[in-house]
């Protein structure tokens, strides 16, 4: 990725941090994200293009948050199984970014390589009302990109898509559909049979 890199997190630096902020207002994030959506929309023709731009922007964040989270909980052993990394994403990574675990993690029964992480209302969508003429647009494509970045960085390349789905109690929720790459499935099978 052109441009910036982040300094490798140094545990000593962290300890000496002089009043480094742990939290900011949700408004600061919401306005920043809203402005980024508008910027991206101006450079997109279709809703899919907009979603792709948002998703791509999220990938780098996924990579970095995995790095930071791993260092913080001193993980010395890397995840090797699909379920393991997914649980790590849907609890630890989600908490690090959004302050809570995702609502649910489910396996897609029909396909060995597919899983779903659901969220009733993704934090990034909290103040967003999708216009009537774009009913399937979901700005949580940004979060899908984050998931993709984290999974890829952990050695589990996958395609991740945010879908708007009707919720049982009316309204809608977001489902992140995760489809692992063939090599991941192959590895999973060989580990399972070992």
């Amino acid at each position: 990725m052109a441009g910036l890199r982040t300094r490798k997190l140094n545990i000593v630096d962290r300890a000496l941090g002089k009043g480094r902020q742990e939290v900011v207002s949700q408004s600061a994030f919401a306005h920043l994200f809203s402005e980024f959506v508008q910027y991206s929309q101006a450079r997109s023709i279709t809703a899919s293009e907009l979603e792709r731009r948002l998703e791509d922007a999220g990938v780098g964040i996924g990579v970095r948050i995995l790095e930071l989270a791993s260092l913080r909980d001193g993980k010395t052993r890397r995840e090797t199984r699909m379920l393991g990394i997914l649980q790590y994403v849907h609890t630890t990574i989600w908490k690090a970014l959004f302050g809570k675990s995702a609502d649910a993690l489910e396996k897609v029964v029909e396909n060995e390589d597919e899983f779903m992480i659901s969220e009733q209302e993704p934090l990034v969508n909290q103040y967003i009302s999708v216009p009537a003429h774009l009913p399937n647009l979901n700005c949580a494509a940004f979060a899908a990109g984050i998931i993709r970045g984290a999974l890829e960085s952990a050695g589990f390349p996958a395609a991740v898509q945010a879908h708007t789905v009707a919720a049982d109690a009316g309204g809608s929720r977001t489902v992140f559909l995760i489809k692992f790459a063939p090599e991941v499935l192959a590895r999973e099978r060989s580990l399972a049979s070992a």
Partner: protein, 194 residues
């Protein structure tokens, strides 16, 4: 040193305690992703600095309403007070940081020179873990903040010029933004025919 916290500081603390919070990392990393995207799209450091200021302006003209609705800061009688309120209440409320406001009197300035102040931010969440690579060492990374101040003030009748003077990413000891008043725009009620 005053035994009591000055009133604006307290207003800022109260406002910050009431707003919903998100993890600072989400904000910091999202900002980084935005900057990377701008650099990618324009391939020009100068243009990116300008674009960041514009994005900040767009945010400023919107975030001002929340400030007016929630901060209870009242009306400022002069530009000096405006600076204090921005530093102690607004920055605290939205970014959780304590910001200093230093009033500036240019030497040899004429008696009717327009007032100005500098905002000094020590623990700027935008720059956490960020390093500017060689080829963008002149990037005004924090220019978004300059735009936010400019946009917000314009919505309440003050046209100002802002400039990023110092930044930790440039090797300085803190982030410093100058804000100078150019024009007061009085919302005079005129006939529609005019």
């Amino acid at each position: 040193m005053a035994a009591q916290r000055p009133p604006y500081q307290r207003l800022g603390d109260v406002a910050f305690s009431k707003v919903e919070k998100v993890n600072a990392e989400l904000f910091t990393l999202t900002y980084g992703a935005v900057v990377v995207q701008l650099l990618k799209d324009s391939e020009d450091v100068e243009q990116t600095s300008i674009q960041l200021e514009k994005m900040g302006y767009n945010i400023g003209v919107r975030i001002i309403d929340e400030f007016l609705a929630k901060a209870n800061a009242g009306t400022c009688t002069d530009f000096k007070e405006t600076g204090e309120v921005i530093a102690k209440v607004a920055f605290r409320m939205f970014l959780g940081v304590t910001v200093d406001c230093r009033h500036v009197v240019e030497p040899n300035a004429p008696a009717d020179a327009m007032p100005a102040f500098h905002l000094i931010i020590v623990d700027n969440p935008l720059v956490d873990f960020v390093e500017l690579p060689e080829h963008c060492s002149t990037l005004a990374y924090c220019n978004l903040l300059c735009g936010v101040v400019r946009g917000a003030l314009e919505m309440v009748g003050m046209r100002v010029e802002t400039k990023l003077l110092k930044d930790t990413l440039w090797g300085d000891e803190h982030t410093e933004i100058s804000v100078s008043l150019k024009e007061l725009v009085h919302e005079q009620y005129r006939d529609d025919d005019e």
